[in-house]
Amino acid sequence: MSADNAPERRHKNLRLAWILAGVALLMLLSSIPFWRGLLEMAINGVQ
């Protein structure tokens, strides 16, 4: 536990971690409609 960070750094770390988690969530949610649209394009060619 001696690796506990100073509160300032701890907040900074957590903030970045949540931002990255948000990115991951965004990828998860976008995976469905976005890739489906791209797939249509790949099959039918760009219209």
């Binding site: 536990m1 001696s2 990828m27 890739w35």
Partner: protein, 536 residues
Amino acid sequence: MSTATIDLAHDHDHEHHGPPKGLKRWLFSTNHKDIGSMYLIFALTMLFAGGVSAMAIRLELFLPGLQLLDPDLYNNLVTNHALIMIFGAVMPAAAGLANWMIPLMIGAPDMALPRLNNLSFWILPAAATMLILSFIVPFFPGGGTQINTGWTIYPPLSVQVGMSMDFLIFALHMLGISSVLASINIIVTIFNMRAPDMKLTQMPIFVWTWLVTAFLLILVIPVLAGGVTMLLFDRHFGTSFFNAAGGGDPVLFQHLFWFFGHPEVYILILPSLGVLASVVPTFSRKPLFGYSSLVGAMIAIMIIGMVVWAHHQYTIGMSLGAVSYFMIGTIIISIPVGLMIFNYMATMWRGAMTFETPMLFAVGILLMFSFGGLTGIMLAVVPADMQYHDSMFVVAHFHYVLMPGAIFGLFAGVFYWLPKWTGHMYDEKLAKIFFWVNVISFNVTFFPQHFIGLAGMPRRIVDYHVMFTEFNVLSSIGAMVFGLSHLLFLYIIIKTVRGGKQAENKVWEGAKGLEWELSSPPPFHSWTTPPKLAAS
């Protein structure tokens, strides 16, 4: 929690400076070195599990005919071999190296989020249990059919499989969560925890490769999670995302899978190529050649690697424009990959080389990974791929990419840092024997597979036409030696952990980097005060 209690805990630990005793040390560990060791031990266990399934596959393929395995058991082993090796062996081993080395290399006292670190490791054994259950359940009455889909779990076949597919989907979810959490931790550590005067451009290349890998993981693992969730819904809740009869699209799953699957290849090989950036300069006694171009190349790999996934599916009937795009994009990847390989070759050039085991593996990677890359360019060519696709040629290709590219890099890293971790030198003579047996039997196993693939043997078949016999016999013999050679690796590791010549702080004559300024083994808490970088 008040500030006072934190300080108290702080003081308490400072009194002892040692790890807690017993099971608690491991179960509740927040120490990057302990968690790193656990990752590595887990990966080694899984390496053997994956290896045993590979040897069962090769035994069945030793001769034409069905001798050992039912077709579905064979297909299940093919599936497990891939999943265990990728998610169980290579990714955790690379994460283990990251946990051990990134804080030491950048002068951080620990990972940024130590409790999260504990969580991301301990999800793994649970996920592995799920994966093993998916294999065991069909042996019980009412357990349904075995997973006969391969690791790509393409529907509609994966919808036919029994409940073991659900175990597999949950295993994938947990493995994904573990990887994403570990990646978040690594990125935060690299951005926020570096020694105060270390700029991003002064970090060792190994840290850079993990930064890129972690970003790739965060971007692509959720897409896999989305894909398998849709599969789960198709199986149980009456949706038809992938069911053509219900207005869905079976090809959509392939796109989602390979949008994850192709970057996954770079996730597997980049940390290992990062190890080379430490190993090659050390044993060439010469500075790393082309630091900035290495960083640029890996960022290019990350970006281009995310937009060429459909070269795994040239045969699904895309338009001419689409396949042309994916072909040219794939061929273009050879530029950054070639630049990375070139930089390592240039680092060796005019060096004063010695060939300790890590360096032997590094040279092996440069030659064999290059060969795998070259067959990769051949595969990128769409018209030729119409023949190669789903043949044993592909199997040979990706084993030449992933064995040297990922696993040999991990071996190099383990031998390179093992004296630092344990404080003991490993047995150089045994390690060299291991290298030669390993490399030679690897080539005996996989080189012949190029030819049987070209001659027309598809992959993932349990039985084959007699015209492919000779090379399959050769390949199986090689595979047995290759598989068993890893017992020697295990023996060397155990021997080193238990004792051996005391390692110096700077284990290797030509080594550079912060990790070599610590004692061997390093204290339980290292870099509690950030180091100052040397003026150079």
